[in-house]
Symmetry: C2
Subunit: 327 residues, 2 copies
């Protein structure tokens, strides 16, 4: 910037003002400086500017992980994409971090070290208490997850109870009676989906069979093992509601392998409606969650938190998308 000032024959202040679009600077000077900057590939040093302005143009996005493995749920990554777009629209940068439970503290560090103005957390999992703690400490954030009543942080999430209800009622309407549930109910989102599942069953005069409830959601190998186990035990089931499409996909693979045709022998409904679901064979019935809206809402809520506005949460509708796997 000093170079430009010298070359343009003006002071630092003038260049600074000019480049930041101050209306005090006459068009001609402004043009000259802009031109000079372009030809030098000069861009204002954002870090230094922020230091002086005491504001940060970056938001931390944290993807929470369950296992040590790379997260690859397309749904999560869809939300990430939506958040990236929404942040982009506001001219904010996105600092990405993936965290597993062993490194909780790193989450706060991003904020405490002045790297980011706030945090968007994707995947609430079992971090509820820690997130509450951070929020109490005044770390601005917005979380994708279940809208827990005792959450001290703003949440954007789907209507998981309704989603679970819709999925299960649909299966019942298709004639299913012995519906298994796949999902880790230690995660609030899955727990709510399970509530909806139970409610739909109750309405049909049925009660959930605990033997048909499986907590292992991630890890396709384990999903296959469960199917094997059920079949070997002669357990009776004619439908499965899986709390994530990626689990449903593994399930369908395992069922096919054991000769149980989907949907004729076993109907399957997933959750999230990831892009691939429509192109599977059979295509997968699922509960759609509006990820684009979610991304926008997360960013909006985070900005409200940063601005010190009262915390609020957003619950997005869940929509049943019927395809072949439940026909």
């Amino acid at each position: 910037m000093a170079d430009i000032a010298r070359m343009a024959g003006v002071s630092l202040s003038t260049v600074s003002r000019s480049l930041s679009g101050s209306s005090l600077i006459p068009e001609t000077t402004r043009q000259r400086i802009t031109e000079l900057a372009r030809s030098l590939n000069y861009q204002v040093n954002i870090g230094a500017a922020n230091l002086r302005k005491r504001d940060i143009q970056t938001v931390g996005v944290v993807i929470l992980g369950d296992s040590m493995q790379t997260i690859s749920d397309p749904f999560i990554l869809n939300i990430l994409g939506a958040v990236a777009d929404a942040l982009d629209e506001r001219g904010m940068s996105l600092l990405l971090t993936r965290l597993n439970p062993q490194r909780q503290e790193q989450m706060a560090a991003m904020f405490d070290s002045g790297q980011v103005a706030g945090l968007i957390v994707i995947g609430q999992l079992t971090w509820h208490d820690y997130l509450n703690e951070l929020a109490r400490r005044g770390v601005p954030m917005a979380v994708w997850g279940a809208c827990l009543s005792d959450a001290y942080y703003p949440v954007v999430g789907g209507d998981n109870a309704t989603g679970g209800y819709l999925a299960t009622r649909h299966l019942l309407q298709q004639g299913a009676r012995r519906i298994a549930f796949f999902g880790d109910i230690s995660h609030p989102e899955a727990a709510l989906r399970h509530q909806g599942y139970a409610r739909a069953l109750a309405e049909a005069g049925l009660t959930p069979d605990p033997r048909l409830h499986q907590s292992f959601l991630f890890g396709d190998r384990r999903i296959r093992q469960v199917i094997d186990m059920w079949l070997d035990q002669g357990l009776d089931f004619d439908a499965i509601f899986a709390s994530a499409d990626i689990a449903a996909i593994s399930l369908i693979g395992a069922l096919n392998e054991r000769g149980l045709e989907v949907p004729h022998r076993v109907r399957v409904v997933g959750y999230d409606d990831i892009a691939l679901s429509a192109y599977l064979h059979p295509s997968l019935t699922s509960i759609r969650q509006p990820t684009a809206v979610a991304g926008r809402a997360l960013v909006e809520l985070l900005f409200e938190a940063i601005a010190g506005l009262p915390r609020r949460s957003v619950m997005l509708p869940a929509e049943l998308v019927v395809r072949d796997s439940s026909a």
Copy 2:
């Protein structure tokens, strides 16, 4: 930091030195300061430190997009994950940006504005010339893509020619004779895969039929239209080699819809070996690319570029993974 200095009864320098682990500071003082920092949730302001140290702890990761749509190829996101891990190991932060061709300049801006020490670009597509231009300008970077001979930037990529060859030879060995190719050969990666495809055909005494070459890779709707078109024209084909698993998956869906069973009527091989491919029905034969190694290599090459070391490129092996779709 000033607070801590005052509370600890020492000078700013002592706190700074202590927190950055200088061996000059005695254990006892160091302990006291560390303790104080922890209790105040204090973390050194990275931006200010970097400004002073004139070094940046952040790397920009750019995901290049073809269309205006959110990118959601799991393979790309796998590499992103691997890069994130590798960066993490080195204590670097990851600034994520998604760019489409309309906003090329933003890529340089990340570096010029001092936000990042260098760029990792995922998805070379048709950006080759622009990437070369940046590299010439001295922007440190590393690119996932095809190892082009006239690339002025370091590249990490799979052995696309061999991958294409392996896929096609495998199909030929399975008895296929009329093998279609799906992939946009304006992208260097796909072009190399097509070369391998042509070579395998040549070895079998066959020549590629241009009518069986389809450039549309993204957009499942278009893929279906192509299948419809081929069938309506009575075009003869008994196998398809698709330059991406996500395309192969759409293809299989479209084929099934038209009653062409995979693999009995049409064999299919994809590329990338995304996680889902193993769990499809039929499971998808594909060419595996080692994403974890790729992530590590990209980071390594970027650091070499930043350090001013001579540019080099890394070509990773392509491995055929045989599954049901080509049986």
